[in-house]
Subunit: 226 residues, 2 copies
């Protein structure tokens, strides 16, 4: 199986209260994106890595790579106006893959097992997205009017969302629709079913300032377990 | 407004991989339950506090209080066979309140603001439960068949779930039903609407081992902010 991964890093630092885009912030003295790329490279030394970055961050990223002597091979592709367009640019830059994973740049704590489950299942069924059961009570509605829902029927979705390359290329040839909130929804629009696999608890998306400290702690824990 | 709180602590240590019930585990050298009780006492020095514990943990708790010279007044009530029955025992031990909050013993990081919003809103509307918008993509179904749902319509529910005392007493006179997953669902069954208020990010439920470390970190952060 020829594996590729499109790592999408579109964030600014605004929600972190910082000028540094969140994907460039440091975790254990290394930018988040370096951790993320390392995770996929360690899983498969022959993997093809595409990094999608906002055009105006590409120079900054190249400087960071030099400063950190970061030498894992990856193509850099400029992002588009929505996440859909960014992923599309990344997917279209790949021509020679069997299975392609799409991964959030700010999820550096994805486990080797999660990555493996995603590629293997997508190779078999066409699609694989990592999920975890929802553990808190859920309500549906708005602050004024809401009702309890049965949380055991709900799963929260992580990345890498992983697909057979042919299917993914075809999916991203569709016109953009506002309902495309993640890659699974783009595939689903074509009528192809989505297979869910279990993700890992540590695979959080670093969005707000406290997430960075939580990630730091989880990272230390994952290191100890090895 | 005469305020009461029923703190429900029914956990064993099984999910934590420990013999110590999770509510007795220590956070910054103090049992989780002491932190939780302190939060409500600091908010209102005249609050009436009821602690619901499994019968076979009451002696252990009394020893802990002595060891930690913990002297905040609280009644101890033995729990029942489900959460509903435990809360019912706690609520029935109170006869002189205007507004009663029901709070998970293992949520020691509830903020003063969240507690205040809950009591004030419940006093006005009859009910208040603290929630946060869901931030990850959600799917509904099971591992074999699922569909994307619009996460902006969903909220995850915290505690203290807070109600006018008369309403709560009436609600807990109902017969137990399996659909009673939290206090809001018991109130809802009587046809009374539920008001949602915003909770706080740190107000996590300590369930698994990593939660304890995350809580430790969030606790330090909340201290620094003061």
């Amino acid at each position: 199986m020829k594996r590729s991964v499109v790592i999408v890093a579109g964030g600014s630092g605004s929600r972190m209260g910082s000028d540094t885009p969140k994907q460039f912030m440091e975790l254990s003295q290394k930018p988040i994106l370096i951790h993320t790329i390392n995770k996929f490279y360690r899983f498969d030394k022959n993997i093809e890595i595409v990094l999608v970055l906002p055009e105006d961050q590409i120079k900054h990223w190249e400087t960071i790579c030099t400063e950190h002597s970061f030498s894992i091979a990856h193509h850099i592709v400029a992002g588009g106006k929505t996440r859909f367009h960014s992923v599309k640019n990344g997917v279209e830059s790949l021509s020679n893959s069997d299975v392609i994973a799409i991964h959030d740049g700010v999820r550096p704590l994805v486990s080797n097992d999660t990555i493996e489950r995603c590629y293997n299942t997508a190779n078999e069924t066409g699609s694989a997205i990592p999920v975890l059961p929802v553990t808190e009570s859920l309500r549906k509605g708005n602050l004024k009017k809401s009702k309890a829902v049965d949380r055991t029927k709900f799963y929260s979705v992580q990345t890498p969302q992983t697909f057979r390359a042919k299917l993914l290329h075809k999916a991203y040839d569709q016109e953009w629709l506002p309902e495309f909130t993640d890659d699974a929804s783009v595939i689903e629009k074509m009528g192809h079913p989505i297979t869910m696999v279990i993700g890992n608890h540590e695979n959080i998306k670093i969005t707000h300032q406290p997430d960075l400290k939580i990630a730091e702690m989880l990272l230390q824990e994952m290191k100890t377990e090895k």
